[in-house]
Symmetry: C2
Amino acid sequence: MHNTQVQLAKQPEGNPKTSDFQVVKADVAKLSDGQFLARNIYLSLDPYMRGAIAGRHMGHQRLNQGDVIYGRCLAEVMESKHPGYKAGENIVIESGWQEYYVSGGEADDEIRKVDATLAPLAANLGVLGMPGLTAWAGVEKLANPALGSTFVVTAAAGPVGGTAGQLAKIKGCRAVGIAGSDKKCRLVVNEYGFDACVNYKNKNWTDELKAACPNGIDTYFDNVGGPVLDAVTQQLNLYGKVIMCGLVSQYNRASDSPGHGHNLGVFVGKRAQLLGLVVYDYYARFGEYLKAAAPLLKAGRLKFHDDRVEGIDKAPEHFVKLMNGLNTGKALVAVGPEKL
Amino acid sequence: MHNTQVQLAKQPEGNPKTSDFQVVKADVAKLSDGQFLARNIYLSLDPYMRGAIAGRHMGHQRLNQGDVIYGRCLAEVMESKHPGYKAGENIVIESGWQEYYVSGGEADDEIRKVDATLAPLAANLGVLGMPGLTAWAGVEKLANPALGSTFVVTAAAGPVGGTAGQLAKIKGCRAVGIAGSDKKCRLVVNEYGFDACVNYKNKNWTDELKAACPNGIDTYFDNVGGPVLDAVTQQLNLYGKVIMCGLVSQYNRASDSPGHGHNLGVFVGKRAQLLGLVVYDYYARFGEYLKAAAPLLKAGRLKFHDDRVEGIDKAPEHFVKLMNGLNTGKALVAVGPEKL
């Protein structure tokens, strides 16, 4: 059986290019006892992968030429010689940019079994997956925004930002998004139901943000860092919170660049709280999140939007788009059919 | 009656110089109804004044040539036409770098009456004053460091850092100071009783800090910011807290300099909490602090160390020393005798 893989051709410098990747055909190894064969259905593309490829993301070794690219997939167990997994089960697994993956079981791969009745399968990589858990942890466990307070989030069209703003809104906040295109902003307001969304590529975007946040900003869920963080901070209220979730603006930087520096004086004067968020801390509480989110999803109060392409060979192009901020919604690759 | 004042001669550029100040003799105004005359006994010199002079510190207008320099003093009410103040009372008052001050009462001047039996009068500007309250707020209200955890503080010989480390030690922490000279470090260890103190001017100071903090750093009470913060952060434990209290390393910067930038990525990975501290928020709780600290002071468990000069005309020289890190302990000017 053939297995189409996407491997590293060479380490990206700055913004990744499709030529940094190579698509190859490999064979699928035979199963040994204690192993199972997973068939990837959806591959999740996420900004953290840029750092993982370069060895800058926790728990990920820098990739070498010929290594399969890191990636979390919604997969189906095809065949199993492992007592914990049965053929036909759906799982989320760190199985990489490829069609098939032989797993030795949970210890290796952070596998999570998926209840296929909760939501469309692909949602388990976005709103009900790691991005959704990230949003929930930041909103519910770190920020705990007050009723009637103003909650601002960047990358608001994406699955982390989009879910975070919706959860804050459901908790009684004014939710204001920041995103990089008018198309994204329309998604954020019209589909996700935020109160407002500002396109930070507009020249007067900070004035627009001020107009959208007449009472100032109480919580800023930051996915981007850099100059946008500096600008938003100017509008942060006294005792405001900044959830430091991601620094997408810094992920494409050259390996020898120190990255954008932030002056901390403004945070002292505002008595701000800056809280670092790493989603891996919350994996043990996935069940708690699903209990809160799945009913909201079923009831149509929590929305999601996929931006998908078909075929594993399209993954590099779609990832390059993501890292240039050109996709809208959750970036996915449909690797194979949901059912064979 | 003559009143010797220290006024601004010109706005300092970078490190302040004595020539930025001018000593002049003025007259004391006659009292109107609702006013009282304060005689300054001790003037407190604090790093925040550098920013206040330049209009960079909250609530302080930028000073012009001829303005009396901002300053908090331990004073005695000499004569009063204000119903709230009686001759002979000791107060802490924002009365400036001068011998006498006519006050209109609390609304103008953030006046605090002092119990002269609690401690030596000068202590009300240091360990039992605003610096002590700052330390207490950071340790007790923001950091709340765990028993057995490691607590690191910069400017450890000064009244904020010295008190913070002692309070943390009394709460069962390992207290490690960072200071700018071996003399300061001896004060910190031998008088204040810290477990260790590192001179950050030593070439291998980060190795020395590592040796002094074998279990890493759980709480970092930061008074300096800049490259020292960057270096300490490398040794911060997961879930560590940074109390952002001051940025002394940045106070002398030129007005057109953006200051030192900090990369926030490291704080995300460490799930750090950065908490901004402004002591003014805690003035309403001064009594709570004194209730905790005064008995410790009386029992000899909480120590302080003054670095004083005699005469208001010596204030500029002593302030320049302070802003160059050349004083040891709480910088004070003895303006007049405790009792006439």
